[in-house]
Subunit: 564 residues, 2 copies
């Protein structure tokens, strides 16, 4: 881009500026030539200032984008007007999308198979080419991209742990991308670095670490946050691994529940422990770790000559929403001197609720905590924090002191530069949207959101627990918003338990899900777990969902599944 | 949020909806009560539809946000109007910021020390509280956040490898955050998943892999992309490490230039190799790896009984912008059967330029390549790709086959689900802005941008190479846009070389930089390198920069540094 640029300070002439504009590329100017008069009618006050604020207010007018190209936008000479009009046109598309997202008369998605989209839907061509497209086509591309996507903010989208579309968070993301900076130094992200520091402290206070002391970072997601926890634990007990590698340590083992997120295993593989050294812990029927099993496996590992290092307790498991008993696990970790990590990617948000935070009782005894505001707290993706009780260990583990980035001789207090604590170099600004949401809602706003989601899932649980055609995957009120159940079509209701029924039941949820997606009415996840055949996992984190949407989901499952 | 919600399908009543709205919280409604008439004057056509398109067009009107709160926005009942008005107000702030960013009469930054911002600047309070703030205050917070930040898109911001503010990319990011979805499955990101696939193929074609075959992913940054390359290399030669850990492999060593990015060392530490097993290669005076040194160090490692695994060749080093001789390095890698990775985070963009792509000659022989469009190609942060020549190895290395996320029995071709190839679970949508920019500029648009940036840096080089008061850090035309130089204040010009001069010169760049930041006129980086004292590293990736901005930078350095 930038084939012609403003020359406010004058002087230099870009020799290429003339021939870079193709013959068809017309330029939007204040002094319109006669032949453009018709097209530009009504555009005279394109940039109108209708109040006395320091910032001029832009007026959105009709613009013909068919002869405008990216090269006509800022920093091009006279690019300001087309730039503002183009951005306002995009915003028009986006605000319409937002409006429809919350409208139950619109579909959650308009499903197409990969080959259909690849072949090009009504002119929506995904292929890239050497030559530029007009801005008009770019706007069409934006509309089509949204049209064939999935409305994750729709009140009936229940498919993932992250759902909903928070308006304040959205505004925060728009600002973040406009600021387009990087978290690694205070120098280029002063405000965001401080917001991160204050917000992490607040989160540590909620965890219960004295004075909110400790350390932390926002990372690109829960899997990376969990990976940090394993790295830090290893550095704490075997700091020489940083320089000498895993051969400097004995055979180290990690413990995590068989219901825990696969990222602990991924971290085990990536960091050089090996997945065989990630020992899976048995759970009770509700998916919670059995502490005695942990202790038995620690003893077993020690007897084999291995060195237990790290225990992950899950606060809100992915499928069952189970909370491992942190206090009992912490007792064992203290007894055997192990690092305790709490993976609260999904359940961490419950710390904001006075009614539900007891489910994480003992979290203050953890050495590190993963907590993803982009899940239960409705913050737009991505927003995940790794929080660490011991100060300095994150930097100790990861710092390489790259002189070209982290100069010690800057004029400000360089302890605010966060880059060397991270395994990343550049780091996206994930804090602002979260900070802004916290400002706009207050802690009580998050609490109300969480309490409401949990109320809704209890509503679902109460509705189906004794309903004909439903079987719960586990008994009792769910700990989190996860409600796991089988829908049993009439054809299977009388059938005795056995392989045939199991095989048939295994195929029910995928079939219903496929029909749901094809009709576009709602989305909910399913999966098998252990020996249990495919069941639905309903989760609520979407702030737009109401009891009527829960009712709708159940009606829809029955409508689609009745004749299976 | 979401304390009251629309009830399109009626039925359920949220028992909390009444008491969650504080007494002061007024609600914007179409039927205004009399006492609100004044405040809401002029808002009658809030939602005006002034064309016959399927999408209504919103009109931005004056709204009093002082009594509106986040809870009054969608999904709240009647939340549509305040939602649209709030978003348009935010957009007004953002478009004003965009406009000023390109205006050379505005400062690049308004510098404050951390303690100043923490104390609160003119009511800008970073602290979070239990109670919500009004939307009016939220809008003020947005303005202040931008006010005290750094304009990374300003034509005189040269501080980082990522700079500039691309308008199409910005629009792409706004859309991405509105879509708010996740790359892990085709199911919830059908369009984005296909865009990623097509774009990665296009990038592989530019690398020169036959038919664009291979694999890849967008990752949260160059450091993570480089980490992927080391993981995959290890998996290729020692797949058992995935399950058994590093103890299943001999002592493995990695090779990278002493000028390379620290992320290779960070990966060595994180993945369990140990930084001592990351062997640094000597470079020539231009910062390029000396192939003979690589071969000597391979032989030396083998003689010690270690196993050479991986060589990183840098295409565009961070400080000097040096391109390692890939073909010569590839010869050695073939001879010793080593994985060749090319870190083109900074230099990969030159593949888009017919004039400059020869600098990466041999890249088609690499096994993997890192390429960050968010650097030289001006794509907003974050946008980094790891590209792999061998298909399937990325999945082999990272897959854990989590049944709850990647169900094999979906109705579509699940080979489009990318999640299990990644070390992440959720993955941010980084592709759309890049795809949209490619559409809008075409390949030739990127080429023109890159050629122009390189022309500008050659302009700078020509201007200062023989100018009084300047010394170049290395001789000859820079390979990339990096121009490294010392400014020698008059007081040091006659001084003989020696410790005193070195010590004094070491302090010059930090002092000038501090004054630059405090005056807010421009920003450029400095650092020491090896035995060389602090020097300026000028880089150009900002599409808004012109020769006049280069002139300005030099004038500014001389103005600020003259009396040092």
């Amino acid at each position: 881009m930038a084939t012609s640029e403003p020359r406010a300070t004058g002087g230099d002439q870009d020799p290429n500026s003339a021939n870079l504009r193709p013959p068809s590329g017309r330029f939007l100017q204040k002094n319109n030539s006669l032949d453009e008069k018709g097209r530009l009618a009504g555009q005279k006050n394109l940039l109108s200032c209708d109040n006395s604020d320091r910032d001029a207010r832009f007026r959105h007018t009709e613009t013909d984008f068919s002869n405008l190209f990216a090269r006509d936008l800022l920093p091009a000479k006279n690019g300001e007007e087309p730039t503002i009009q183009f951005l306002l046109e995009v915003v028009d598309i986006l605000t319409n999308y937002v409006k429809k997202t919350f409208d139950r008369s619109t579909k959650v998605l308009d499903f197409h198979h990969p080959h259909q989209l690849l072949e090009g839907m009504e002119g929506f061509n995904l292929e890239l080419s050497d030559q530029p497209e007009s801005l008009e086509q770019i706007l069409v591309d934006c509309r089509d991209t949204l049209k064939y996507g999935v409305r994750t903010g729709h009140p009936r989208f229940f498919n993932q742990l992250s759902s909903g579309l928070d308006i304040i968070g959205l505004a925060g993301e728009w600002l973040t991308s406009t600021a387009n900076t990087n978290m690694f130094t205070y120098e280029i992200a002063p405000v965001f670095v401080l917001m991160e520091q204050l917000t992490l402290k607040k989160m540590r206070e909620m965890i219960g670490w004295p004075g909110g002391e400790g350390d932390g970072l926002f990372s690109p997601g829960g899997a990376i946050s969990n990976m940090y926890s394993v790295m830090i634990a290893r550095y704490k007990y075997f700091p020489e691994v940083k320089t000498k590698g895993m051969s400097a340590a004995p055979r180290l083992v990690l413990f995590t529940s068989e219901h825990s997120h696969y990222s602990i295993k991924k971290a085990g593989a990536a960091l050089g422990f090996g997945t065989e050294n990630v020992i899976l812990l048995s759970t009770d029927e509700r998916g919670r770790v059995i502490p005695a099993d942990l202790e038995a496996k620690i003893i077993d590992a020690k007897q084999k000559g291995y060195v237990p290092l790290f225990v992950n307790a899950t606060a809100g498991s992915t499928v069952y929403g189970a909370f491992d008993p942190i206090n009992e696990i912490a007792d064992i970790c203290e007894k055997y001197n192990l690092w305790l990590h709490v993976d609260g990617a999904w359940g961490g948000g419950l710390l904001m609720s006075r009614q539900h935070r007891h489910k994480l009782s003992g979290v203050e005894r953890a050495n590190s905590v993963t907590w993803n505001p982009h899940k239960m707290m409705g913050v737009p993706l991505q927003c995940s924090a790794i929080l660490v009780r011991e100060k300095g260990i994150l930097a100790g583990c990861n710092s390489m002191c790259a002189g070209y980035l982290f100069q010690p001789d800057k004029q400000y207090d360089v302890t605010y530069d966060t880059g060397d604590k991270a395994i990343q170099c550049g780091r996206h600004v994930d804090i602002f949207k979260f900070w802004l949401m916290w400002k706009a809602k207050g802690t009580i706003g998050f609490e109300q959101h969480i309490d409401k989601c949990l109320d809704l899932s209890q509503y679902l649980y109460n509705k189906i627990k004794n309903r004909e055609g439903y079987e719960m995957v586990f008994d009792g009120v769910p700990q989190h918003t996860n409600v796991c159940f089988w829908y049993i079509p009439p054809s299977l209701r009388g059938m005795p338990d056995g392989d045939e029924r199991r095989e048939k039941l295994h195929r029910v949820a995928p079939k219903i899900k496929a029909m749901m997606m094809e009709s576009g009415t709602t989305m909910v996840g399913y999966q098998p777990q252990g020996t249990k055949v495919n069941f639905f996992r309903m989760v609520v984190s979407n702030s737009a969902a109401t009891q009527s949407d829960i009712d709708f989901l159940i009606d829809e499952i029955e409508r689609l599944g009745h004749d299976l």
